[in-house]
C-alpha cells in the first residue's frame, strides 16, 4: 500500500518538504515504517527523539498501519 507521511518542524527540513509518500507492505507496523523512514532519512536518528502519530494520536511501535491512515512524524515538540 502507498502511504503519505506528514512532516512538521525539523522533520520537514529533513524530508525536504511537508510530506513524503512511501510504499509499505500491507499490515506493516509503526515500527516497520520507522525503520524504513530512518533508512531513507538517516538524519531522523540524530533527533533527540521523535514519535509517529496515526490519525492524530501518538502511536506505539506495534500498532498496525492501514491504508488511508493519516500518519505524521512528530519531532520533539516546543509549543507554548
Amino acid at each position: 500500500m502507498k502511504i503519505k507521511v506528514l512532516a512538521f518542524g525539523i522533520a520537514k527540513d529533513i524530508f525536504g518538504g511537508s510530506s513524503v509518500s512511501l510504499e509499505l507492505a500491507n499490515d506493516s507496523t509503526v515500527y516497520n515504517l520507522q525503520y524504513l523512514l530512518e533508512q531513507q532519512y538517516p538524519k531522523l536518528q540524530q533527533l533527540k527523539s521523535y514519535m509517529l502519530a496515526v490519525n492524530n494520536e501518538y502511536a506505539l511501535p506495534g500498532d498496525t498501519i492501514h491504508e488511508r491512515d493519516e500518519i505524521a512524524v512528530i519531532p520533539p515538540v516546543s509549543g507554548g
Binding site: 494520536e57 505524521a72 519531532p75 509549543g79 507554548g80
Partner: protein
C-alpha cells in the same frame, strides 16, 4: 461491598489555534462567570533572549488537528484532577516578534487552588505533548527548539 463515587461536573472549554494575534481581553471575557471565584491565566511571551543569546523572532508551526485533540485531552485530564469550571487554550502560529504572545491558558474554578493547579498542569503538559514547534531565529542562524540532543 463496593462503594461507588460518582462525579458529575459541567466543563466548558475553548480551544483555538490561530495565525492572528491572540486577544487576551476576549479570553478573560469568556472565562469570567458568576459561578467562579478564582481565575488563573498563564500568558506566554516571546523573550528577547534564550540562554543569553539575543533572539530576533520566533516561528511557530502546529499540526493543527492533532494539536487540538491533544489540548482537549489535557483539559479533560485536568478536569478529573481538579474541580474546574472552564478552561481555555489559545495558541498562535506563524511569525512572532519579541513581546508577542504565543499562548494563553485560562482556567476558572469556584476556588483558586484548583484554578492554579489546573492552569499549571495544562501549560506544563502542553509543552510536553502538543504537536507545536518553535523555531528561534538569531542574527546568525535559526534552530528548531529541542530538536537535537
Amino acid at each position: 461491598m463496593t462503594s461507588s463515587h460518582q462525579k458529575t461536573f459541567s466543563l466548558s472549554t475553548q480551544i483555538q489555534i490561530s495565525p492572528t494575534p491572540l486577544n487576551i481581553q476576549a479570553c478573560i471575557d469568556w472565562i469570567i462567570s458568576p459561578e467562579s471565584g478564582g481565575i488563573d491565566v498563564f500568558i506566554g511571551t516571546v523573550r528577547n533572549a534564550t540562554k543569553g543569546k539575543p533572539v530576533i523572532r520566533l516561528e511557530f508551526e502546529a499540526y493543527e488537528p492533532m494539536a487540538i485533540a491533544e489540548m482537549e485531552k489535557i483539559i479533560k485530564q485536568a478536569a478529573v484532577q481538579w474541580p474546574i469550571q472552564k478552561a481555555l487554550i489559545h495558541h498562535r502560529t506563524g511569525v512572532l516578534e519579541i513581546g508577542e504572545v504565543p499562548v494563553i491558558i485560562a482556567v476558572s474554578a469556584a476556588h483558586r487552588a484548583a484554578a492554579f493547579d489546573a492552569c499549571r498542569y495544562i501549560i506544563d503538559t502542553l509543552k510536553q505533548t502538543v504537536p507545536i514547534w518553535k523555531k528561534e531565529i538569531f542574527e546568525d542562524g535559526e534552530i528548531w527548539v529541542a530538536a537535537h540532543p
